[in-house]
Amino acid sequence: MAKDKILSFERALELYEPVLGFEVHIELGTKTKMFSSAPNEFGSEPNTNITPVDLGLPGTLPVVNEQAVRYSISLGLALGCEIAETSSFARKNYFYPDMTKNYQITQSDQPIAYDGSVEVELADGTIFHVPIERAHMEEDAGKLTHVGGSAGRIQGASASLVDYNRAGVPLVEIVTRPIFGAEHNAPELAKAYVAVVREIAISLGISEARMERGNLRCDANVSLRPRGQEKLGTRTETKNVNSLRSVERAVRYEIQRQAAILEAGGTITQETRHWHEDTGTTSAGRPKSDADDYRYFPEPDLLPVVPGRELIEQLRSELPEAPAARNRRLKGEWGFTDLEFQDVVNGGLLAEISSTVAAGATAQAARKWWTGEIARIANTQGVDAASLISPENVAATAKLVEAGTLTDKLARQVIEGVIAGEGSPQEVVDARGLAVVSDDGALIAAIDEALAAQPDILEKLREGKVQAAGAVIGAVMKAMKGQADAARVRELLLERAAQA
């Protein structure tokens, strides 16, 4: 495949105005599926979380999951949407082997939620209102694995395996209206918007919203129009964008790629594009046109959903704080500086830090670990920090430091171990033998040994040349393989000098 030409981002923005749009799919964390009693669980053996309904066997009928409706209403409310008094399901007809019925039950004319707005704060403090067109309920499809080809792609594959565990998992699809005016901030806004939606879902407790598992998936629509032109340009829809940083990169790449085509006098093809994490590029997928005909019609097997004012108001009263308001509150509660807080927001780590604090860590410790060591590893691996380690494990590590069991340096090794799958922090400490030597006797013995090798040091210390302590502390730390608290060694050394 020929590599696409791209224009520099700055030049692209000079010539064209980017217009964005997003379709975010969130898998709801209900116990059972959208229309069946099959368990809604991730990671089970293929084709075990299925009932005849999920396989679309002859004679089966769907039944709406009430909890999924409640979750969808809560999400709609949190997105500032109106909730439809009557909402109905429709069939979207198309043949594909991951669809057991060869139609998807979704919502068309009457989505459960519509006309909302989400407040998104950018790094420079700008507040952006992303307009939400609708949020609708639907069922997920199964998962295809192509075998015999390269890297699991369908090209060159000799066969495909289907796992229907995911078929029928409840989804809410959140569709924005076209987003204008993001300009240079377009890639950042893309990431920040998805991060906010993710935070909302997590704070509502309706989804784990883990992008690496596909709990939250984003399709990014990008189009460019020449400066001064009213008419919208042709858009592409980039799929398979499975991390926050990919959202940012994919939008940036599409702007640059489309700009290069337009500048060369070409036209943009309306199509689905696939994001490739490894190369940081997109490639053409299925051409998409208005001729695509899904033959939507009202789903005759289901009655309309009529939630009733009372339920809607009850769910509204139970809503957690809106993210922007919550951010302002948390910043105060945690005592972070503007810079520190922005770091957290940009890293999409608010939810993680909240959970880590809730699990018993101090806010500063939580911030330090998430934006420090964990973010560093995430960056190296090209994944989101949240996918690496649980807030509980971060809190447990922080508590070990606080208790003096670990030094910061040792704690970094513990974090590494937990991420590498070696178990809980305590298990890593035990397995790797990482605990700080807190036995003063052992430390004093090591100090004496170091002093014996450098007898003039005690003299220097007594003369008040405190910097001389460094050499002894270094030697002790070395002898203790780093598992000593340097401050304590220093204390003991100075006591020793004072004694003699």
């Binding site: 066997l57 002859p58 019609f297 005759p300 009655l303």
Partner: protein, 503 residues
Amino acid sequence: MSDLIRLSAAELAAKLSAGEVSAVEATQAHLDRIAAVDGDVHAFLHVSDSALETARGIDERRAAGEQLHELAGVPLAVKDVLVTTDMPSTSGSKILEGYMSPFDATVVERARAAGLIAIGKTNMDEFAMGSSTEHSAYGPTHNPWDLSRIPGGSGGGSAAAVAAFEAPLALGSDTGGSIRQPAHVTGTVGVKPTYGGVSRYGSIALASSLDQIGPVTRTVLDAALLHDVIGGHDARDSTSIPESWVSMAAAAREGQSGEVLKGLRVGVVKQFSGEGFQAGVEQRFAETLTLLQGAGAEIVEIDAPHFEYAVAAYYLILPAEASSNLARYDSVRFGLRVHPQGGGTVEDVMAATREAGFGPEVKRRIILGTYALSSGYYDAYYGSAQKVRTLIQRDFNAAFDQVDVIASPSAPTTAFKIGERVNDPLSMYLNDITTIPANLAGVPGISIPMGLAPEDGLPTGLQLMAPVRADDRLYRVAAAIEARLEEGWGHTLISQAPALGGK
């Protein structure tokens, strides 16, 4: 012919519970009858090899003193549109040849729980598309009254099985008349309950908003007894009505003995007469109305101006829903799989399978429905058809402001010859003109025998329709009319059916 098979289900049930007959005897008698006549009739696609064992179980439970359901031990024929775990379920199609369901349809489950003995699966037009059972992929069923004629459709197998005394009870499905029109042409009783009155779970869907499962029997009381077994709310069918129902059997018994016809307001639809209606059918209908008047009923002519668009609307809504419902038959998870020559993609396999597995009528309707739902045509076809549907519901509402029930011939003609209309889909579709409005409006309808047409000596049926949820009214009135008619004839109509199998 064994006397056991000529009994109504209620009579057989009485003998079973009195211990005069065992379930094994009753089952064996019907299996023998099937063996004797079904070669000619071809009502069954599959005969159970476990029915006798099931019957033995019922006898043992009865012997042990267990309190069994009134109908326990009575044989039941099951239309092949309903899925069963112990017999294949094909819906009359090659694409499902040999398909075994991992679950029983709710109605089958309830019938089994009541101790009914499922003795076999009955023939039908492929995926219930048709009015003659000629569109079955497994060959046509023959009308027991005249083997050269159709038994109606799509449920010709169930109606013929009951008419030929191969089973006292059968289950059918009615999307546009598939229970009532076969009842009409075979001299039997068929009921399409209120939409939502009987669970559709496990019924292989044709058109979800129209399909309804119902009883096929030889008497009104039998239909009511079976209705009580299969009806009522089912959480697995979202369109199933949650409210409880009164006993249909009690209503039928009340109709048999009481004076329910006195003061009954019977509506006659202006639009259901004239062109297309056979003279003998109209004659029997007129006589039945006279009989009703004699019994104190008031006949009221009603205008249902939108009924004339019912067939047109139906043949857009049904194919549209069917085109989607039948999309799942793609060879990926179950059913027939045909590999195209030289291999191919999954799309090629799907296409080859559907090409080979579906018959011409099914393909015709899938294409029609796909077209009707296409963007750009949706409003003109599917959208307009739904509006007509609403107008027909209003016609019914207006009519039921004036009358208690609506009466009509169940179909315009008696049974036509096999092969006569198979290449003329339009004339086949028009045979459902009287039955389709009830499906579009969701109201209940029943067909009971109303005599033989003088010109051809073939059965005709009287259709009664009532408002939504007034199924009990249908049974009450139909049982009363049945009693009056039989009193006049001096026998049941079905007793006039020719003997079969050379006996």
